[in-house]
């Protein structure tokens, strides 16, 4: 217990007696964690947008003209988990839509004696990849005449979404790796500046732990404070970014709930604690080993 208090006191001394060094390290870790946090938020939003776009995907199922057939198909479609909404479109509605769509050509359609358009069931799927599956299953029903859906678009969306998922992993891995590397080096160079002291402490009978732990706690504090400040910065800049985006790109659906920053922030702070711990532990015990190697 006594020892622990001495170690905490030594941690405080390390921080305060080289406040310049501490400040530099904190600034570095703020920059690093801000970058990591920003890339995580970017990735989360991109994924969300892609998902939202995917959600707009419609499968149009043309059905033989009978009330029961329509209902059967609609019922079957509703039973899928991956379907988000099902709507029945009658022949009349379909004609109205066609007229609206043709615009200039509407008069051509008006020349028709009878309505040639079949009724259909409009299915909204949750994910581009489901469209193909559902289309294939519904075409097997005897009531169904034809299934139309944006094949290429669905495929493209699917591969884009797959790509975004992978990209987000790459961005995360690269930014986390660089972050850890940079922090590790910074902390290590900081310890390097004091390796003389480490060897002196060992010479007067300090145990390895007594020497190493103040550095470890110092690293944890610097990492955590850096991460926390980065989260603060992210909080404000995310707010501003979202506001700016909503003004200039109102059609994008973004993660506007700022609580997402807090969740990302929690991860960052945790990373700060562990990166700080690991890096300073590695750095300090390396110099301890070096210093206690007798020649």
């Amino acid at each position: 217990m006594g020892i622990f208090r001495y170690i905490m006191r030594d941690t405080w001394r390390l921080l305060s007696r080289h406040s310049g060094l501490s400040l530099l390290t904190i600034v570095t870790s703020v920059a690093v964690f801000f970058l990591v946090g920003a890339s995580i938020l970017f990735v989360l939003n991109t994924r969300y947008i892609v998902e939202a776009v995917e959600g707009d995907l419609t499968v149009q199922v043309y059905v033989r003209d009978s009330e029961e057939a329509l209902e059967a198909v609609a019922r079957k479609a509703s039973s899928y988990d991956s379907v988000s909404s099902v709507r029945v479109v009658t022949s009349g509605e379909a004609l109205e839509r066609l007229k609206a769509r043709l615009g200039k050509l509407a008069e051509a359609v008006a020349l028709l004696d009878e309505n040639p358009l079949p009724p259909s069931v409009e299915i909204q799927v949750k994910r581009a990849s489901f469209a193909t599956v559902i289309a294939r299953e519904l075409i097997a029903m005897p009531e169904v005449e034809e299934v139309v859906y944006a094949g290429t678009v669905a495929e493209r969306l699917q591969s884009i979404s797959y790509f975004v998922a992978r990209l987000s992993m790459v961005v995360l891995v690269v930014s986390l790796a660089s972050a850890a590397l940079v922090l590790f080096n910074t902390i290590r160079i900081g310890v390097y500046a004091r390796k003389e002291e480490i060897s002196k402490m060992l010479l007067v009978g300090a145990t390895r732990n007594f020497v190493v732990f103040p550095y470890v706690f110092q690293g944890v504090i610097l990492g955590t404070v850096g991460a926390a400040l980065a989260v603060l910065l992210l909080w404000f800049s995310y707010g501003m970014a979202i506001t700016a985006l909503e003004r200039s790109l109102p059609f994008l659906r973004l993660l506007t709930d700022r609580s997402i920053v807090l969740r990302v922030g929690a991860v960052l702070v945790l990373a700060g604690v562990s990166v700080g711990w690991i890096c300073s532990w590695l750095a300090a015990s390396r110099f301890v080993r070096q210093a206690s190697r007798s020649i």
Binding site: E197, M201, L203, S294
Partner: protein
């Protein structure tokens, strides 16, 4: 604790043999001067006792332990029994005079109040009380040397190694320090003092061990700094 060198050679580079074939026993509670010209191996001998160095050949034992056999994580416990006044002091530059002396006690887990009491005692004894809140680089060479001495004796170690402990002290202060060392020795601590100070060796006669070019050339009870008629 007894210190024993058995056929110890310490070689640094192919052409630098700092100690050669040293046989030496220092009993518990002895007071030994280590003399010899500059570069003769005095500091190297002391560094072998604290296992800052390991011998190239031969065996160094402190108490019952062969210093080569100590696992490096147990080293701290050996060193706590040995106080060292380093030739270049090796004070911790970020700690004040007070903190430097307190540190070695904290390291071994002495409770706060005891540390306080003992540190103030040592500061007082060495005339450093008014400098207690200054950092090493803010005090004079002689003051730094006394801090180093204070740090070495703070834990009342069973062995005290002092490497040139009076090199930056005037004669009167050196006398005081010698009184202090003698009183510590009287309480049972083994003392090895490496020194060039003829005055103290000749004034406070003790066993003298002389090195020359890494070889032990003289081991005299109640010796002098130099043998009469030496060179």
């Amino acid at each position: 604790m007894e210190i024993r060198f058995a056929g110890v050679t310490k070689q640094f580079l192919p052409d630098i043999v700092a100690l050669q074939d040293i046989f030496l026993t220092i009993e518990e509670g002895e007071f030994v001067y280590l003399v010899g010209p500059t570069g003769s191996g005095k500091t190297t001998l002391l560094r072998l006792v604290t296992r800052e160095l390991v011998p190239t050949k031969g065996r160094v034992t402190v108490g019952d332990v062969n210093i080569r056999k100590i696992a490096s994580h147990n080293l701290a416990y050996l060193r706590r029994n040995i106080g060292v006044v380093f030739q270049d002091f090796r004070l911790l530059p970020d700690l004040t005079v007070y903190e430097n002396i307190a540190f070695v006690q904290e390291v071994i887990g002495v409770p706060r109040q005891d540390v306080q009491k003992r540190t103030n005692e040592v500061l007082d004894r060495l005339g450093l009380w008014r400098r207690r809140n200054l950092f090493p680089e803010q005090i004079s060479g002689g003051e730094q040397q006394r801090v180093a001495i204070g740090r070495a004796i703070a834990n009342s170690p069973s062995i005290l190694l002092a490497d040139e402990p009076t090199g930056n002290l005037d004669i009167d202060t050196a006398d005081e320090i010698m009184q202090l060392l003698l009183s510590i020795n009287a309480s049972g601590t083994t003392l090895i003092v490496a020194t060039h100070n003829q005055y103290i060796v000749d004034s406070y006669r003790q066993r003298v061990i002389e090195l020359r070019k890494g070889r032990l050339v003289r081991d005299e009870k109640k010796g002098r700094y130099r043998v009469d008629g030496d060179f």
